[in-house]
Symmetry: C2
Subunit: 233 residues, 2 copies
Amino acid sequence: MQNLEVIAFDADDTLWANEPIFNQAEKECMEILSKYVEPTKLSKKLYETEVKNLKFFGYGIKGFVLSLIETAVELSEQNILGRDIQKIINVGKDMITHPVELLPGVEEAVTDLKEEYTLMILTKGDLFDQESKIARSGLDSYFNHFEIVSDKTENTYSEILNRYQVNPSDFLMIGNSLKSDVLPVISIGAYAAHIPFHITWEHEEAEVDRFNHSRFFELEDISQVPELLQANH
Amino acid sequence: MQNLEVIAFDADDTLWANEPIFNQAEKECMEILSKYVEPTKLSKKLYETEVKNLKFFGYGIKGFVLSLIETAVELSEQNILGRDIQKIINVGKDMITHPVELLPGVEEAVTDLKEEYTLMILTKGDLFDQESKIARSGLDSYFNHFEIVSDKTENTYSEILNRYQVNPSDFLMIGNSLKSDVLPVISIGAYAAHIPFHITWEHEEAEVDRFNHSRFFELEDISQVPELLQANH
């Protein structure tokens, strides 16, 4: 990484906690639905509905809430009451306005890295949610560029590098998802560092038990990024 | 406009029909809800709910469907049945997969303009919906740049011009909304052409009865754009 120029960070569960907000919302909906259905049934059915609906709704809270409602209608055998539907929508609104909690070490790491590198937030999801979270995170002044994309494929990364005229060999992506933040990045010849988050949405899990590659780094937390870069300078 | 470099087009109701899809969906929901509520009550309440929810959901079909559900719950006095909620979600899925119908003259106009100018799609709304519509429109090969934004303010336009290093005096925005496509563009010193669409969402209407400005043009349809540029060359 001698010529490293641009470091891009995933946002959800890399810079701030996100999956816990979805898990908490799911728990609240289990509670709301407990009069209609065995709570343990919700998780499996919800996941199936979410995956089936990805092609309609993409990623993000609004699609999640629509899938929650659809799952609730189905599991309640269409008996769910209007007021419980409204409660589910309110859970969604709480998710959207939930405080953005930075993960430990994030502010220190980006303060350090912005001295030497161009920093980018490169995140997948709903445009409106992500812009709102970036603004509320207080992190926007640390970053030079913001890219919110609907999916993270090789093509997505190639187009972004092209737009900013950055060579893959000068680009490092940091994120918690092997599937979205690591595999496509390695494929196009760039560098990737994986920082696992304690919870990963099932759909983002990838089969890479012993992933070994000269352009791949496995880190425990974001505070190790500056050390990694010094070691590989 | 001697040095005009970049022409940006709004997409919904400028390149393809959009508002009719929302109106059609609203009609279908009136039908679904007719057993609970006087159909004429839906429109007004829905609009109120949509505007109130903009700060949570932003623009786009998913937010519209969530507002529809919320309105249906409220107007039915929480008596709406699960199966009717599911019907509303299905109306939303039909909207998302609705064929993208280009407006008359669009393909000819962009074919002509792309010979001489850098063309951009600059559209507001849900990232996932808009990307999908651009892909399905078949127009992507005519455009050099695509910008999907959550709102169109002076700031939005300034940032985009800055990113592409374009002077306001070299930029023309074309769209159907005075509020989003014209006023902020004129304010930052760029050119704007308004092409009204036969239906405008109430929230996009602006009070500019006799808008008169040397950088503003009122056109009847998109086929007049090439003529306008020749006349002002």
